[in-house]
């Protein structure tokens, strides 16, 4: 743990104690740095903004009610994301009670080889382009189109930047599954964004394919 991380954990422990001692207002100070994280986790699972906001609020309120049981074994942020993840899953289950997760196509194909599309070159998509609504929407849509088991790993690892271990804990899956799903999710995103964002929309020219597959 770096000095800064350790300092922020000490500070959080102090804030948590104050909340538990009756300073409710301090709770907002505690969760504010993670608002976006909570929202992003929620929307990556429930997909629409209204549901995501409801899930995010419920998760924060639940974190408050469970705060006295937080033992600091994990980081506060990881604990909060875990709660958000569970809330979002519950919301989803209520919305579509007859859908079994086991029929998720991703899990069935996970073992197969994945061949990335053969673009001869890659024209980088600069982060500044995310300021354009159209581009940001395209990236979000590409993430939404991933099947659930890929999407959740991608969100935890690449959006929230959690470690492999933290991701394993939250999702309750093995290290191998975290790695395989993340790998597949990244390559699928690359495949779906390459021709759309840079090739077709901006420069109006398709990528050149050098091999027939």
């Amino acid at each position: 743990m770096s000095a800064i991380q350790s300092q922020s954990r000490t500070n959080e422990a102090y804030l948590i104690k104050r909340v538990c001692d009756g300073e409710r207002e301090v709770f907002y100070e505690l969760v504010r740095p993670y608002e976006r994280m909570v929202y992003a986790t929620a929307i990556s699972i429930v997909k629409n903004p209204a549901d995501a906001e409801e899930v995010a609020q419920e998760a924060v309120l639940k974190a408050f009610s469970k705060l006295a049981s937080f033992r600091g074994e994990s980081k506060f942020s990881t604990w909060l994301i875990q709660i958000t993840y569970n809330e979002a899953k519950m919301k989803l289950r209520k919305a579509r009670p007859n859908l079994y997760e086991s029929i998720d196509d991703a899990q069935q194909n996970e073992e197969g080889e994945f061949w990335p599309k053969d673009y001869a070159d890659w024209r980088p998509i600069p982060s500044e382009l995310l300021e354009e609504n159209e581009i940001r929407q395209a990236v979000q849509d590409a993430i939404s189109s991933l099947s659930e088991s890929y999407r959740e790993v991608l969100i935890l690892r690449d959006v929230q930047r959690l470690s492999i271990k933290e991701t394993m804990t939250i999702l309750g899956i093995s290290e191998g599954s975290v790695k395989t799903r993340l790998h597949r999710a990244r390559l699928l995103l690359r495949d779906s964004l390459a021709p759309g964002i840079d090739g077709r929309w901006i420069k109006r020219q398709p990528y050149r394919k050098v091999r027939p597959w």
């Binding site: 937080f70 982060s127 300021e131 995103l189």
Partner: protein, 85 residues
């Protein structure tokens, strides 16, 4: 010392682990040698790295307008302190 060559398929399989630093030094060396000679795998590598950067950019998911305000209002309605654990 000579490094054993690896195929494109093997490289693709490990590209994500390569970017995360989750591979052995030996495999890293073999992959780097492959990248220096294979434009296609380099394109896959660059693309994947770019995607990770875009997805990890803090601005990707914008909270709805007024989100913080509404959240704060909810917190103000909470009981004075959480129940004892």
């Amino acid at each position: 010392m000579t490094t054993i060559e690896i195929s494109c398929v093997e490289v693709w399989r490990e590209i994500s682990n390569y970017l995360d630093g989750e591979i052995s030094a030996d495999l890293r060396e073999r992959m780097e040698k492959h990248f220096s000679a294979c434009a296609h795998c380099t394109a896959v590598l660059d693309g994947t790295r770019n995607i990770i950067g875009l997805v990890g950019d803090g601005t990707l998911f914008q909270m709805p307008e007024g989100f913080s305000k509404r959240l704060y209002a909810k917190i103000r309605n909470l009981p004075p302190s959480p129940p004892r654990g």
